[in-house]
């Protein structure tokens, strides 16, 4: 690696240059490139359409910039959080995600658009819980795989709970319907399961049963899936009708030929190609920049994938590794899927091109994903520099909320053998130790556990703030209470008898139901929690308990 003589040629210099960059830097570089290119293309593709319909050629660009500010803020915020925080709160993430997904299915709550109920409106902003579900699925699957490391090959303890977890995330999305996202989550989750060590037999079983079942359900339940399939098989059969979009997409891409018609010169964006700045923006890129442009975009996603995988390999913890790999895979797969749709390689699905397509919801959650990736990268970099020095330290306090369970066996053995050379965490073996053996200054960062500190501090601050607010409000409470009390008294007097009897009835009913509800809630919460906990019968766990 050291002999970077110029004789290698410029391409190799660039490639090796990128390879030598810290992956977190490469990541920021790639994502920012894609985002800024996206802004240019959103303006280029939407200006004519919006300029005609609402006389605002900058409309989409303005919206996208506002979303971008929110999304980048979210990304930076998330990247500051220690990713193991998500592992700890897996249960909460699961409950939150699933309930939001279910909420979209409720009429009048979920907003219907183009025949699918995918959107939730909140404070004037629309967002798709299925976008959240993509990130959540990676986090949850990784947590599951890590916790169940020892039993993952078991059918009853590993495969079936995995399928249950996957099903509970994907079925609400499939009902929206959103076949593209469903397939994306299934594929990514299955890959994480494979990496986590699921039996190949089980994996193949799930793949061969699950995916066709999903497709058959979608095919039977939703008419448009059928149409899209027939259009895909013969895109030129119904150019004026159902095949219009995909046909125009091919025309746009193809007419770009090798060098493209130049930025802004697209014809397809002039009302020929629908969804020209969202799902089909890649076709416009192809038309304006040609094969060279599409290849470069594809190359950027390749670079993104390589960078993500590098981050995954450098992560000091298995969880971080899975999360990094999962998020990378999710984003890359979505990009490839979008390109495959636009090139009519696969049937049409409502899938956007990550970082480039207009649309705030998917952008925000993708950048949150990137934030998580950055968090993993930061830890990885720290770990690379710190080597394995923190392993004994971790072993000292196995109950710390951020102890990496996957490393525990290693730690335990390290502690047992006392002073012996411990195998480094997952992938640090790739690189040799520094020859002089000097420990870099950033070790301090690792010992400090900044994530924990951050959270505690923030919790404290929030508490103080709430207390302050409370004391302010307390003064005016009596006045409110008096007024409210007077009104209530009047109403109460009038309704008292009726209310009383109702109250009694409800109370008695509640009394009878309460224990059942309680146990049901407790049971289901326990069941969910169990998904992300180490099985009780595992020897090392039981040993530690005794």
């Amino acid at each position: 690696m050291k002999s970077d003589a110029p004789s290698r040629g410029w391409l190799r210099t660039i490639l090796f240059g990128i390879a030598r960059l810290d992956p977190s830097h490469t990541l920021v570089l790639v994502v920012l490139t894609l985002l800024s290119f996206g802004l240019v293309m959103i303006y280029s593709s939407s200006a004519i359409t919006t300029g005609r319909n609402v006389s605002a050629e900058f409309l989409y660009l303005q919206r996208q910039i506002v979303w971008l500010i929110i999304a980048i803020g979210a990304m930076i915020g998330i990247s500051r959080v220690d990713y193991r925080f998500f592992e700890k709160y897996s249960t909460h993430i699961f409950i939150g995600t699933v309930s939001l997904l279910l909420l979209t299915l409720v009429p009048f709550v979920g907003t219907e658009y183009n025949g699918a109920r995918r959107w939730l409106r909140f404070l004037g902003l629309g967002f798709q819980p299925s976008d959240l579900a993509k990130v959540s699925a990676v986090l949850l699957m990784s947590a599951f795989v890590v916790k169940k490391q020892q039993v993952i090959r078991d059918r009853r303890l590993g495969t079936i709970p995995a399928m249950a977890l996957l099903a509970s995330l994907t079925i609400p999305i499939l009902m929206e319907p959103d076949l593209g996202t469903t397939l994306l989550i299934i594929v990514t989750s299955l890959v994480i399961l494979v990496l986590g060590g699921i039996r190949m037999r089980h994996f193949l079983g799930m793949l061969l049963c699950g995916v066709p079942v999903v497709i058959v359900i979608a095919f039977l339940k939703f008419g448009h899936v059928k149409d899209r399939l027939s259009v895909w098989l013969n895109p030129e059969a119904d150019i004026q009708g159902k095949g219009h979009q995909i046909y125009q997409s091919l025309v746009a891409l193809g007419s770009g030929e090798i060098t493209g018609v130049g930025l802004g010169g697209s014809f397809s964006k002039r009302f020929f190609l629908p969804e020209e700045s969202t799902d089909f923006i890649f076709a416009i890129i192809g038309e304006e920049f040609g094969f060279i442009g599409t290849t470069l975009v594809l190359a950027l996603f390749v670079l993104f994938a390589i960078t993500g995988i590098r981050i995954a390999l450098r992560s000091p913890t298995l969880y971080g590794s899975f999360v990094a790999f999962g998020i990378t895979l999710m984003i890359t797969l979505q990009a490839l899927m979008n390109i495959a749709v636009v090139t009519a390689t696969v049937p049409t699905k409502g899938i956007s091109l990550p970082f480039i397509s207009a649309g705030g919801s998917s952008l925000t959650f993708f950048l949150i994903g990137v934030g998580v990736l950055m968090s993993v990268a930061r830890k990885g970099t720290a770990a690379m520099e710190a080597k394995v020095l923190r392993v004994p330290e971790l072993a000292e306090d196995p109950d710390s909320p951020f102890v990496d369970d996957a490393l525990l066996p290693v730690c335990a053995s390290a502690a047992d053998k006392d002073g012996e050379q411990v195998p480094p965490p997952v992938n640090t073996r790739l690189r040799p130790l520094p020859k002089d053996g000097v420990i870099p200054a950033s070790v301090a960062l690792c010992e400090d556990e900044p994530g924990t500190a951050d959270v505690t501090v923030r919790k404290k601050e929030l508490g103080a703030l709430l207390t302050q607010l409370w004391t302010l409000e307390k003064a005016s409470i009596p006045t409110y209470a008096k007024k409210a009390g007077g009104a209530l008294k009047k109403a109460g007097k009038a309704l008292a008898p009726a209310m009383k009897s109702t109250a009694v009835a409800i109370a008695s009913g509640a009394k009878k139901l309460a224990p059942h509800v309680k146990t049901f809630a407790a049971k289901s919460f326990g069941a969910i929690k169990g998904l992300f906990q180490r099985p009780k019968m595992f020897p090392s766990e039981s040993g530690r308990l005794s």
Binding site: Q150, F291, L298, L329, I339
Partner: protein, 583 residues
């Protein structure tokens, strides 16, 4: 299983499995790359072609048709750019779509769907078939919404005739295929320009993308045509005609004003007439230029011509006395069987040839013709140009009817022709022959187009008079002209007298032949004259066919019906031309 083993196992399998996933990912990347390569590099041209078809439009730029104006620059026909028409390109319509296209067109343009379908199917090898011309804005908007491949708009020019009915028969009119009548038809090729074409792009909503303008082929306007007609003369001739029609209510009237020395037609007017701006609603009968398309038996105005022949041959002199039999003569011809009776309106005793003409005696004229003999008469008829076209540059000119020479008999044909019956002529033929008296024996080819001017102002064609000589100049000028002056001074045409000009002319009142011979079918009242007699500049013929409204104390004689109008036209024309009087 120790924990260390498990860890390394996990680790190993993790890396191996990640490699598998990585390979799969690389494969998917390559599928996408390959697909893009095939789409954009291998078949890119095909899609560029498709996009061109979707976006490129050839816009038709119609060339404005040339203008038509009079010699005093009064515009008679102009071109305005307006109106869209709808066409289909049958080659661009797939067979299974024909029905749908026809349905769309019939719904938006209210045309017959079956008819449209037939048009498309019958012209499958053509690129251009009209569906509806000059559609309304509503129709255009309705069709724009459902426009699809194979249907197109074409911007069209609209012919406009600013003077409406004036000179309508000269100018004619244009239908959708170009000139259909008059100068418009005769000079169609010259008036038609070369259409241009422009290629530009349109978006999916059919808006033109104006900033992308490709090659343009500018239209070349048609040539302008300047007529020999004088607008002012034409204008008061028209007024005169309206007066005449109001007064006498004839079935039709034709008037021609000519320059006898060149053959230029200075004005030409017919009644009934029409407005060429709305030719399609006009009765086709009114659109005929009767001055050249209709034939009449000329009657007495023919007498000077036959007498002239005899005079020129020296068979008679101007003062030769002829017995006019007191108005009733049973004619017999040596060598021919049978007899026929000839009558005069007013019986006369013996008249000189001069009086035969000025008093319009049929018997006298018949005797002169019999003296002349049929061979010579036939020769002169041919010489004057009867029985064949004058060669005027107008549409639909008739030959007229001259009895066949093979079966010509002196008793029938010669005697009839002597007083202008048994022969049919167009008003133009008549005037043209009469002009030979005015100009000293020359028959000019009449013409109405003075010059053709190219779009850049260059003169492409200029008319020049063409003539042949049929009479000796001295006979025409010195013998016949004074006789015709007498007609005005003291004969049947006294109503045509002018204050400052000497007029020479002849009246005519021809019975219109019915299916069973003459009588009770009305008359053609005509008058032909030129002035000033000393040096003729203008000649006029007025032929009123079957006048029907008889004012008290008058008759339908040519001297009553046509002569006054003719005189006024002569007077005004001469004044307009600035000719000094010769009285």
């Amino acid at each position: 299983m120790t924990s260390e083993q498990s860890a390394s196992m996990i680790d190993l399998s993790y890396r191996r499995r990640m490699a598998i996933v990585g390979v799969a990912l690389v494969l998917v990347f390559h599928v996408c790359l390959g697909r893009l390569f095939s789409l954009q590099v291998l078949t890119g041209e095909k899609y560029s072609e498709i996009q061109n078809r979707q976006t490129k439009v050839h816009e038709f730029l119609p060339a404005p048709r040339g203008r038509i104006y009079t010699s005093d620059s009064m515009p008679l026909a102009l071109t305005r750019l307006e109106g869209k028409s709808v066409y289909v390109n049958p080659r661009e319509i797939r067979l299974d779509e024909v029905e749908r296209v026809a349905w769309v067109l019939s719904n938006t343009l209210s045309v017959d769907a079956a008819e449209v379908q037939r048009k498309i199917l019958e012209n499958r090898d053509k690129y251009f078939v009209w569906i509806k011309r000059r559609i309304s804005l509503d129709e255009e908007n309705a069709l724009t919404k459902v426009l699809q491949d194979g249907i197109g708009f074409k911007l069209e020019t609209m012919r406009h005739y600013p003077q409406a009915q004036m000179a309508a028969h000269i100018v004619g009119f244009c239908n959708e295929y170009g000139g259909a009548e008059g100068i418009e038809a005769r000079y169609n090729e010259s008036l038609t320009g070369t259409d241009g074409e422009r290629t530009l792009y349109r978006d999916a909503l059919q808006n033109k993308i104006v900033d992308v303008d490709l090659d343009q082929l500018s239209p070349i306007p048609g040539n302008d045509i300047e007529l020999t007609v004088i607008g002012a003369v034409q204008a008061f001739v028209e007024e005169e005609m309206d007066d005449l029609v109001r007064k006498w209510a004839p079935d039709s009237v034709s008037v021609i004003v000519m320059d006898p020395n060149t053959g230029r037609i200075l004005a030409m007017c017919n009644r009934p007439t029409f407005d060429p701006n709305s030719y399609s609603t006009a009765d086709p009968d009114t659109r005929r230029n009767r001055a050249v398309t209709d034939i009449y038996e000329p009657g007495s105005i023919f007498k000077p011509l036959v007498c002239l022949s005899a005079l020129e041959n020296g068979l008679v002199g101007k003062d030769t006395r002829i017995n006019c039999e007191n108005g009733n003569w049973v004619a017999r011809v040596q060598g021919e069987r049978g007899s026929r009776s000839v009558h005069d309106v007013h019986g006369h005793g013996t008249l000189s040839v001069e009086q035969v003409i000025s008093l319009s005696s049929n018997i006298g004229s018949a005797k002169v013709v019999l003296l002349l003999g049929k061979e010579k008469l036939q020769g002169y008829l041919t010489g004057f140009g009867f029985g064949r076209r004058t060669g005027v540059d107008l549409m639909g000119e008739q030959r007229g009817i001259v009895p066949p020479f093979e079966t010509w008999s002196e008793l029938q044909e010669s005697i009839s022709v002597a007083f202008g019956h048994g022969i049919s002529v167009t008003p133009l033929q008549m005037l043209n022959a009469f002009n030979s008296v005015a100009n000293g024996g020359r028959i000019y080819r009449p013409f109405i187009v003075e010059r053709i001017i190219g779009p850049e102002g260059a003169t492409l064609y200029e008319a020049s008079p063409v003539y042949r000589e049929v009479l000796k100049p001295e006979v025409a000028r010195e013998v016949m002209s004074p006789i015709l002056e007498k007609v005005i001074e003291s004969g049947t045409g006294t109503r045509a007298k002018l204050e400052s000009f000497r007029v020479a002319g002849k009246t005519g009142t021809a019975d219109i032949p019915g299916p069973r011979g003459y009588g009770n079918h009305g008359v053609v009242s005509s008058f032909v004259a030129y002035a000033p007699a000393s040096n003729p500049v203008v000649s006029v013929i007025v032929m009123a066919n079957h006048p029907t409204r008889l004012a008290f104390g008058t008759s339908f004689y040519g001297g009553n019906v046509s002569a006054p109008a003719c005189a006024r036209i002569l007077n005004k024309t001469l004044t307009f031309l600035g000719v000094s009087g010769d009285k």
